[in-house]
């Protein structure tokens, strides 16, 4: 038996092994994975040394899946089965998608979220995104030499609850332990702020392939505080391609196009756009399926003119964010440009003109989000000692509300509220003897329910019959650090408590995720049980480690009985983990979590007490 090591009093025990954690930028056009190695954030390239992974997934009839460059190379040959810009479909229905008629897919309108019919079967955008994440997961494991402890996945700040939940589900489906969903502009601010040791108020202008975000942050001594965020989750570089594509169609007087030609010309349009970022003129040549030749050219002035409304469209959210922050343009200390689409000179000019200063471009706009996510993942994994880490305070982008009489929205949590956030509101019955109440949870800024996004509908049953207006039903919204909502409704007037908690699901129930997991394993010939056991072991290990370090730090807060209960639960979990039954491990895990509940609360109270004590000493 190994000798027990005891550290010097006051010294921290030997640093535990570094946990392998990554940041993933799951982009509309390209995706990246990055990690912190020897204190420096770096993007992990593929075997050929390429840092980007095109966010393109191609399905084959035999179940094989190509992701990235190989799928990109064949997109014009097989447009129906080659999914590009899938991020635009996350958490969206068919009617939400712009240019659906111009997309060469076979959409299936499913409740909550659309699906795509491919040669390999009907796929949800969550499954398609999971394919991209799986490739990045494998890339990272290969580069880092072991399974990942956790990942931070970035999302546009303006993503609503449905889009966030879909992204988290995709991570889970790809076998990742999602430590946090992080807003893309916030990730960029972390990378930028730490790199430049910046202090002050910064605006992050993030125009990606399919989404636009504008976040205003206050950076000061180890705190990144988002003051306001605004954006458009349906506006990005893709729309510039689309404008150019339409212009080509008109200039060359083309008849309606076949899917293959459509995709070919969209690719040409994108290439021309990128060319025009550094050149004055670009030509577009293509041979259509019919044999017809397309040969047109355009100068940068024309490109500016046909995309002018898109550029202007980004300035609306910029103004709104400034107003919400209560700031004027003069109070902004710097503007950070993020996203490949900000390479377009007309964007740079418009931003410079609006903010009356040159925007900052010193970090690669394609990589900065992944780098910031890696830095945050490193902190969340516990690899940075306290004092060297930082505090991140983010907000929800869109108000959360509930439907009231007449199809109106009552806002419960307004936009730009710092998360985690929880708010409650009381409601009462409308009729005598009413025993049920139905709720409709919505997200958005408009006053009418029909103009907002519907997140969930649920019913509270078992309210004791009373006179109208006598019942007191408290509806509580809780938004966690990922920006994800859960809702609880509780009737407690009579003490006979009726309560219900919902998490919006968008048609993807836990059972669906399990089915998708099973499907993906049957292709990979991996054993579901082996996988479940491995996951339970990782969870068990993590909880044992966390519990031991909590005991090492604060055992003094425990009564002998509490200590005994926790020790017993630890022993039970260890015994379960010596076996191979993942359900037993899960049960022992839950038991330990329950046993440590009061301890965790006491530790947190103690933390607050120490924080205040420290502050007072600091003030002397």
């Amino acid at each position: 038996m190994a000798l027990l090591q005891i550290s010097e009093p006051g010294m921290s025990p030997a640093p535990h092994e570094r946990r392998l954690a990554v940041g993933i930028d799951l982009g509309t056009t390209n995706s990246l994975v990055a990690t912190v190695r020897s204190g420096i954030a770096t993007v992990l390239p593929d075997a050929q040394g390429r840092p980007l992974l095109p966010s393109i997934v191609r399905y084959h009839a035999n179940g094989k899946v190509d992701v990235g460059y190989s799928a990109q190379a064949r997109q014009a040959d097989d447009p129906k089965n080659t999914i590009v810009s899938v991020k635009r479909f996350m958490g969206r229905g068919v009617k939400d998608v712009d240019h659906a008629q111009n997309a060469p897919y076979d959409f299936v309108d499913a409740p909550g979220m659309l699906q795509l019919r491919t040669v390999a079967g009907v796929k949800s955008p969550v499954e398609v995104s999971a394919e991209i994440l799986k490739v990045l997961n494998e890339r990272a494991q290969l580069a880092l030499g072991g399974p990942l402890s956790g990942a931070v996945i970035t999302v546009p700040a303006y993503f609503d609850d449905a889009q966030r939940q879909a992204t988290k589900d995709a991570g889970r489906l790809a076998g990742l332990n999602v430590l946090r969903l992080l807003n893309e502009p916030t990730a960029a601010a972390i990378a930028y702020g730490l790199d430049n040791a910046s202090e002050g108020i910064f605006a992050v202008y993030d125009l990606g392939g399919g989404t636009f975000d504008l976040s205003i942050l206050r950076l000061s001594k180890g705190v990144f505080e988002v003051v306001a965020t605004a954006g458009d989750s349906m506006l990005g570089g893709d729309d510039f391609d689309q404008r150019l594509f339409c212009w080509i169609g008109e200039a060359a007087k083309l008849a309606p196009l076949a899917p293959r030609d459509m995709r070919q010309l969209l690719v040409k349009a994108r290439e021309a756009k990128e060319y025009l970022s550094v050149h004055q003129e670009a030509s577009v040549t293509a041979k259509l399926t019919s044999g017809e030749l397309v040969d047109v050219s355009l100068d940068s002035e024309t490109f500016c003119r046909i995309t002018q409304t898109l550029v202007q469209k980004t300035l609306g959210p910029v103004r709104r964010a400034l107003r919400d922050a209560g700031l004027s343009v003069n109070e902004i200390d710097g503007v950070v440009m993020v996203g490949g689409a900000t390479r377009m000179p007309q964007i740079q000019r418009a931003v410079a003109e609006f903010f009356k200063r040159d925007p900052l471009n010193n970090l690669d706009p394609d990589k900065v989000v992944a780098l910031g996510a890696a830095m945050q993942a490193n902190v969340l994994a516990g690899n940075k000692p306290q004092g060297e880490d930082w505090l991140l305070l983010d907000v929800i982008p869109l108000s959360l509300g509930v439907e009231t009489m007449g199809g109106l929205v009552e806002k419960i949590i307004p936009r730009n509220t710092t998360i985690p956030a929880g708010r409650g509101q009381e409601f009462t019955t409308f009729k005598d003897g009413q025993t049920g109440m139905s709720f409709h949870v919505v997200q958005g800024e408009r006053e009418l329910v029909s103009d907002c996004r519907s997140l969930a509908r649920f019913e509270l049953k078992g309210i004791p019959p009373m006179a109208a207006g006598a019942a007191r039903v408290r509806v509580t919204y809780q938004v966690d650090a990922d920006g994800l909502l859960s809702v609880t409704a509780k009737e407690s007037t009579t003490g006979a408590e009726a309560s219900v908690t919902v998490k919006p699901s968008y048609g993807l129930a836990d059972a669906d995720i399990e089915r998708m997991l099973r499907d993906s394993f049957s292709h990979a010939k991996e054993d579901v049980h082996a996988r479940a056991l491995a996951e339970a072991m990782v969870d068990g290990q993590r909880l044992l480690e966390a519990t031991r370090s909590a005991l090492a730090a604060d055992a003094a807060l425990l009564s002998p009985e509490d200590r005994k209960a926790i020790d017993a639960a630890i022993a039970a979990l260890e015994t379960a983990m010596a076996g191979a039954d993942h359900r037993r491990i899960k049960q022992a895990l839950d038991a330990l979590n329950r046993a440590t509940g009061p301890f965790a609360e006491r530790r947190m109270d103690e933390g607050v007490r120490r924080a205040l004590a420290g502050k007072k000493i600091g003030n002397l």
């Binding site: 103004r319 969340l380 009231t404 409308f430 408290r474 650090a481 993590r542 440590t596 965790a600 609360e601």
Partner: protein, 185 residues
């Protein structure tokens, strides 16, 4: 389903006052720097980012604490909510929804401001909106000064309730100005 009261904005688990939570004396004229320092100090110990790798129990406790701290902080930062909170600590209900009695001259002034707002919106006149916003800023500062006197010095909590309702009026008007900017853009 109908609303019974505007309980929105009350903390979930709060038993002590928001001021106590940050180790501050209840006062309307607040040391904002001290509030921010205490807020950040507490957040740096309870925030979920500190517990991303911990067990369920600690993550749950962290979520509850952070939610409470955020709620307390946003309440104290907002002058209307801060004043209402102080009044409620002294058993005075501001009664935003039920007490709509206002001094006649204040109401006249509000009607006039609203007319200006409607005209500026109609004419899509951003400069007029800017001017209106500046005027509201001035009115707010003056009202907050009087509130500070009444709450902190005179300790006249009942009398302060009228001023809080007036301030609430100005905040609502401000929200309408924001909406007007969006409309004319």
């Amino acid at each position: 389903m109908s609303k019974t009261n505007a309980a929105a904005g009350k903390a979930l688990t709060s038993s002590s006052s928001h001021f106590e939570l940050f180790g501050l004396q209840p006062s309307f004229l607040l040391d904002h720097k001290a509030l921010e320092r205490a807020y950040r100090e507490i957040q740096s110990r309870v925030h979920p980012d500190r517990f991303a790798h911990a067990g369920d129990a600690e993550r749950r406790a962290s979520l509850q604490w952070t939610t409470r701290v955020n709620e307390a902080y946003s309440t104290l930062k907002n002058p209307v909510q801060r004043a209402s909170h102080i009044l409620s600590l002294h058993g005075v209900d501001v009664a935003f929804e039920t007490n709509t009695a206002m001094p006649a001259d204040f109401l006249m002034q509000q009607m006039e401001l609203r007319e200006t707002l409607a005209e500026a919106t109609e004419a899509k006149n951003a400069a007029a909106l800017d001017g209106l916003q500046r005027r509201i800023d001035g009115d707010k500062a003056e009202l907050e000064g009087r509130l500070g006197e009444r709450i902190d010095k005179e300790k006249d909590y009942k009398g302060a309730a009228d001023l809080v309702r007036e301030l609430q009026f100005l905040h609502k008007l401000e929200a309408e100005i924001d909406a007007a900017y969006e409309e004319i853009e």
